[in-house]
Symmetry: C2
Subunit: 369 residues, 2 copies
Amino acid sequence: MAPKPKVYVTIMAGGGGTRFWPWSREERPKQILPIISGQSMIRETVNRIRPLVPPEKIFIVTSSSQLGQIRRQVPQIPAGNLLAEPEGKNTAPCLCLAAWHIQKLSPDAIMVALPADHHISDHKGFRRTLKIAVEFASRQNFLITLGLRPTAPETGYGYIQQGEIIGRVKNTPVFKVKAFREKPTRQKARAFLRQGDYLWNSGMFVWKVSAFLKAVKKCLPVLYEDTLILKKAVGTSRERSALKKAYACCQSISVDYGVMEKAANVAMIEAQFPWDDVGSWSALWSIRPKDQNGNACVGSKPDGRGKILTIDSSGCLIRAEKKLVAVLGMKDTIVVEAGDAFLVCPRQRSQEVRQILKELKNKGWKEYL
Amino acid sequence: MAPKPKVYVTIMAGGGGTRFWPWSREERPKQILPIISGQSMIRETVNRIRPLVPPEKIFIVTSSSQLGQIRRQVPQIPAGNLLAEPEGKNTAPCLCLAAWHIQKLSPDAIMVALPADHHISDHKGFRRTLKIAVEFASRQNFLITLGLRPTAPETGYGYIQQGEIIGRVKNTPVFKVKAFREKPTRQKARAFLRQGDYLWNSGMFVWKVSAFLKAVKKCLPVLYEDTLILKKAVGTSRERSALKKAYACCQSISVDYGVMEKAANVAMIEAQFPWDDVGSWSALWSIRPKDQNGNACVGSKPDGRGKILTIDSSGCLIRAEKKLVAVLGMKDTIVVEAGDAFLVCPRQRSQEVRQILKELKNKGWKEYL
């Protein structure tokens, strides 16, 4: 029997908050907010993975400015496992940083990379899929991405076309990835769904840390060189200055585009759990419990200061933080009180919240970003 | 030439705030808010009448709880002219109280009674009409009400049917009132408009104080008796206790229903100015200046804390007090931030704000009333 794989998890938690404005802000992004439940998304993510790995094998990559907030959210993670990027440079440098740490601790480790802000309610199904991926990664040198069976022709996600079956773990097929397709047009997305062999790219990855670093070296040689300084520096007193140096010059690029699309040894396992990236107020409305009129009320506690009153309204998402939010005669509307700002927009247009941020920048009202 | 009439004005400013909730509250009613301009409506009302009468001839009847706020709004009115009712008992007792004051100062005075919360932009036209009414009142013993030419089949107003012409002042006809009609159904209101001889009852009255008290004695003898105690008490140290006594037992009744509809000597002069009682958020939207998309933005000052951002929105009324209010993709919507509450409703349903107040009472959330 093969030795038990040494699994390390990296949680990518560096993103800024835009989609849940005004609740999320630049300095208070989605992952540290209790968007879904009473817990922050980063805490949920850690709790979901904890039965698989002990805290000392969980790394969290975040931004310097979010470090304190993340630490407060997940105090069980050792301080040395919270890695602060000097600036956000997308997922490839982020995963290199984590990989150098893991590689130093355990050169034959299996690395699991997860976003900090996904909603996965079926924890057991999630861990079952991860175990399968870990098992396959430990046997082969493939870079494994988890694929998600599409439920709608979304244009905001990348798609993966599955190729031939290259193996099985406990009857679960592992596919070669035939092609990556970046965010498609609506028409193309519909064609992908009809075709049936396209899955959403989840942004969740499993690989041998050695296989990943080898792939970076091959696909992104300059990035590899730029971060090579970290190989020896991580975990030492020189880490911080090395990090600054590496990030000052390194390319900003996603691991999907920079590595996965270019590498030859990419595999896909279909996720065996329902998934939602909760990418908008509208998505949040979809997954939250609702009253008999289809209103999802967020943040209102019986004894809290935030109170919600709805009259003859339906299909709304309403959030109250400190005030009374009264909604009368509205349909399918997002109404959000958060901090020093208030948002009202149709549920179907909640993706356009970015426009507000753009306009705030134009006006120089940066205090609301 | 007849001696110049001695004109006294009574401003009725005792109403509680419901229609402009959450801006107006029980203890912060419409008349003390700067609903239309930068000035409170009570201040506008006083300023509008000032060229006709000196401050010492202006009485303001309000509630004890609003007294301080009213005083701060119109400091030029002598403190003794601010009459505080122990409780609201509608307009008949309110005008009796003022009438006893005026009668004591000048038994042959002409009394002008005005609500504190109407929007009348044409100050000159307003005073022209009042002068005509005063002139007619000084010659005859009629109770004069100002009639407003209806612009729509409103169901929220009382209607007055004009009878024969009983006189003229400077070519302006004065009509006998044929009938009063309380708030009609929509169908009846339409019929009134078609018929052409129905005007809205403005709630603005002009009469000899002696004629008014005589009419009260005849039409509301019990109320007359109940307030007779005030005749000697007003202006003395006994006024307060007399007021308490009178108000404890007196009937709550409107002057329209209790006196005007019953008296035989009621006349009507048509108002020669545009008028709006600004009875709802929707009415406020109608009269406020708007941006190129038809949005009326209230309370946002360039350097103030209340800020408004509209994107692809039209026909909205938006008020920001201390927060940023961002409205994206909304049409014809009322969005109001005020104090500890926030309101969102369709413009066409802003009359239903009362329902919110009812629901707040049901829930015991009285701090928001």
